[in-house]
């Protein structure tokens, strides 16, 4: 009932704001792979059907690393799109400070986003000085270990239930001529794996101390020394894996040539496309099976400030649509990501997604690195991890340099 009133209020507000003539709304995003494109077309269809406006698709090929500079330079250069995808977190911080993004507070308050968005930290990531500047659309978490049943069968070992069992089984995989841990040789993947190890080995409180409070002394201390020793072990497990892209590494797991991979929940799409079933062909372990927690990264929509009042009205309607239950279900089922609200029916989701939903419902969640750390710090960490995983750098060396980056983090 409360939601209904809220949406009525929002509808009234949107109607009051404009007589709603049709506007062409250009939306930029980097969702170009199969599942992603299907998901975004759900959103476009809903927007075209439910409002008077037209969705103009502005997909940018390449990953976020390619698309973000294009998006940001368009906003800075005075040629803003009507709406754009960005990862929620600190990527848009300075754009907000410069007054380049539209304030969505009126929609957010009318619809009661603070009550429906779960976890509420997603909304906090969109909020700057008490004003809301983005509409979160999905949650992606990075802390997953994907295991190939085939590989463990070949090695004659049971499929591990957590990271420690995986470490114990790794020599058997090696003897069977398999790569224990698939790892794409790119800084962000290695940094992702390291972040996951932090949570699994040192725990949530330690993670928070370093990544949120930026306590460099703690990062140089004994708790993190354990993390770095584990990372050095993991590096040995990944020695034979010389692929670059994450999906090629996932493919090693799918085809049973590697035992496992630490990768975000988007890897699930690859298993699905390959026709594999969770629980029978592969196993997913959130939080490496040790600490079942997930971070809440993902995507949000931001709306650059435009002069045209029609587009401004369309922006608010789109923001409201993104958070609406129908779009949340349709979009996230196609994308394989978790919805940003807990009050909708996701019963058709598969095993792994259900496990993610359960963890989310229990509230065992962390802010993502994108929220805690600035892109500058992230890039430095990725550089460090890229070097660490591809060389013989000692765990102690890596730790002291890691602590130095954390001490400089802002």
């Amino acid at each position: 009932m409360k939601t209904l009133t809220a949406s009525l209020a929002a509808a009234a507000l949107v109607c009051a704001a404009s007589p709603a003539p049709a506007a062409d709304v250009e939306v930029t995003h980097w969702w170009t792979s199969g599942g992603e494109a299907a998901a975004v077309s759900e959103l476009a269809r809903a927007f075209n059907d439910k409002t008077d406006h037209d969705w103009v698709d502005g997909a940018i090929a390449g990953s976020g690393g390619t698309a973000r500079p294009i998006i940001i330079s368009r906003i800075l250069g005075g040629d803003p799109m009507a709406a754009t995808q960005l990862n929620h977190g600190r990527q848009a911080e300075e754009l907000i400070q410069a007054g380049l993004l539209t304030d969505l507070t009126e929609v957010a308050e009318a619809e009661g986003w603070r009550d429906i968005i779960n976890p509420v930290s997603l909304l906090d990531a969109c909020t700057h000085d008490g004003r809301v500047y983005c509409a979160p659309i999905n949650i992606h978490s990075a802390q997953w270990l994907w295991l190939s049943h085939d590989a463990f069968r070949k090695a004659g070992a049971p499929v591990p239930k957590d990271w420690n069992e995986f470490v114990a089984a790794a020599p058997k995989l090696e003897r069977a001529g398999l790569v224990p841990l698939a790892m794409g040789q790119q800084g962000w993947q290695q940094n992702l794996a390291f972040g996951t190890l932090q949570i699994a080995i040192a725990g949530m409180d330690a993670w928070r101390e370093v990544n949120v409070n930026k306590n460099a002394e703690f990062a140089a201390g004994p708790d993190y020394a354990k993390v770095f020793r584990s990372a050095a072990d993991a590096r040995e497990f990944a020695r034979g894996s010389n692929v670059q892209d994450w999906n090629l590494a996932t493919n090693l797991v799918i085809t049973g040539r590697a035992g496992g991979q630490i990768m975000g929940d988007w890897a699930q799409g690859e298993f699905q496309v390959a026709g594999k079933t969770a629980g029978r062909d592969y196993t997913c372990l959130p939080g490496l099976g040790v600490n079942e927690v997930l971070d809440t990264g993902g995507d949000s929509f931001y709306f650059p400030v435009v002069d045209d009042p029609e587009i401004r009205a369309a922006q608010l309607e789109l923001a409201s649509l993104i958070v609406s239950p129908e779009v949340q279900v349709a979009f996230n089922l196609k994308k394989g990501s978790l919805p940003i609200r807990g009050d909708i029916d996701m019963s058709t989701a598969n095993d792994c997604m259900q496990r993610g939903l359960a963890i989310l419902a229990d509230g065992d969640i962390l802010p993502t690195g994108d929220i805690a750390l600035s892109p500058d710090t992230q890039t430095q960490l990725e550089d460090l991890m890229a070097e660490f995983w591809s060389s013989d750098m000692s765990a102690e060396d890596a730790q002291s340099r890691y602590a130095a980056i954390i001490s400089r983090a802002d």
């Binding site: 940001i72 300075e94 670059q244 892109p375 890039t379 890229a386 070097e387 591809s390 340099r401």
Partner: protein
């Protein structure tokens, strides 16, 4: 006397001068102005947006204590020296061979020049595949039965620069060869005749008579090769993307990554200013010797 002549000089040929105004403005505003703006902002703490919040040399201190930057500089130095020497030597050798009036010169010239028609991105990808240990050279040689053969530069941090070097030389040698060949064709036939009369061997004639005569051609080739080396970026992105780890990073990639990916303009500007400084240190004394000295002499 000169004071009476000067105004006339300025107004001589007015249409040519008016026509060059746009280029002069472009050079001043875009090149000089843009460079000045970049250098100025490298002393600030600009992140995503440029702002004049001065922090002194902090960006430079951070730059020179960053491993990735040091590795980038070292890679560029190794790549630059090797690529400069090898491209010049190979380009000249090929040109000299073609100059011996061999049959099918046109065909060979086309073959050698073809790689230059390809962009660095295509070159990088092609060589990434050729050097791939499973599908490329290593895989083929192993397929012939030499099981322990190992040639895997792109996955070995110690020699990955040479993997880049192979691709760079393959791409660039053809152009240098054509420039050299043009230079060789410009050498007077009589010089060859008199060298032969004096009984000087062919190789010796090339090294001690022809090469010194071709000084301007070498200078042109040198400028073209060096500018290619300094801006080395797309080849790396396509072939290794800086990997494995950060073993094949180069300065230009550091600049782009820190300006746009890390959203830290100040750091990127500091790095690009260092690139400018290093180019200036090499180019200015050389240009002075090459051009400044001659005018006086």
């Amino acid at each position: 006397m000169s004071s009476t002549r000067r105004p006339i000089r300025i107004w001589r040929n007015p249409s040519a001068k008016i026509a060059s105004i746009p280029m002069i403005l472009t050079a001043l505003v875009v090149f000089v102005g843009g460079t000045g703006w970049t250098v100025l902002h490298s002393f600030t703490s600009s992140r995503l947006l440029p702002k004049l919040d001065f922090v002194g040399l902090a960006q430079y201190e951070r730059l020179w204590s960053t491993r990735r930057w040091l590795i980038s500089v070292e890679n560029l130095a190794v790549f630059g020296v090797c690529s400069l020497i090898l491209t010049l030597v190979a380009g000249f050798a090929l040109a000299a061979l073609l100059d011996r009036k061999i049959r099918g010169e046109n065909a060979f010239r086309t073959i050698f020049l073809y790689p230059f028609a390809m962009s660095f991105v295509v070159t990088g990808l092609v060589w990434q595949w050729i050097l791939n240990p499973d599908f490329g050279i290593q895989g083929i040689v192993r397929g012939w039965g030499w099981e322990v053969f190992s040639f895997d530069p792109l996955n070995n941090p110690d020699i990955v620069v040479f993997g880049l070097l192979i691709a760079g030389i393959w791409q660039g040698t053809g152009l240098v060869m054509v420039i050299m060949l043009a230079g060789l064709r410009g050498v007077d036939e009589d010089i060859w005749k008199s060298a032969r009369v004096d009984g000087i061997g062919t190789v010796k004639t090339y090294l001690f008579i022809i090469v010194p005569m071709m000084r301007p051609v070498f200078v042109t080739a040198l400028v073209i090769i060096s500018s290619g080396i300094i801006k080395l970026y797309d080849l790396v992105v396509a072939q290794t993307n800086g990997g494995p780890g950060i073993a094949s990073e180069v300065p230009a990639k550091y600049v782009i990554d820190y300006m746009f990916k890390a959203q830290n303009l100040g750091q990127g500007f500091a790095a690009s200013t260092m690139m400018l400084v290093s180019v200036t240190i090499i180019v200015v004394p050389w240009a002075y010797l090459e051009f400044g000295g001659r005018k006086r002499g």
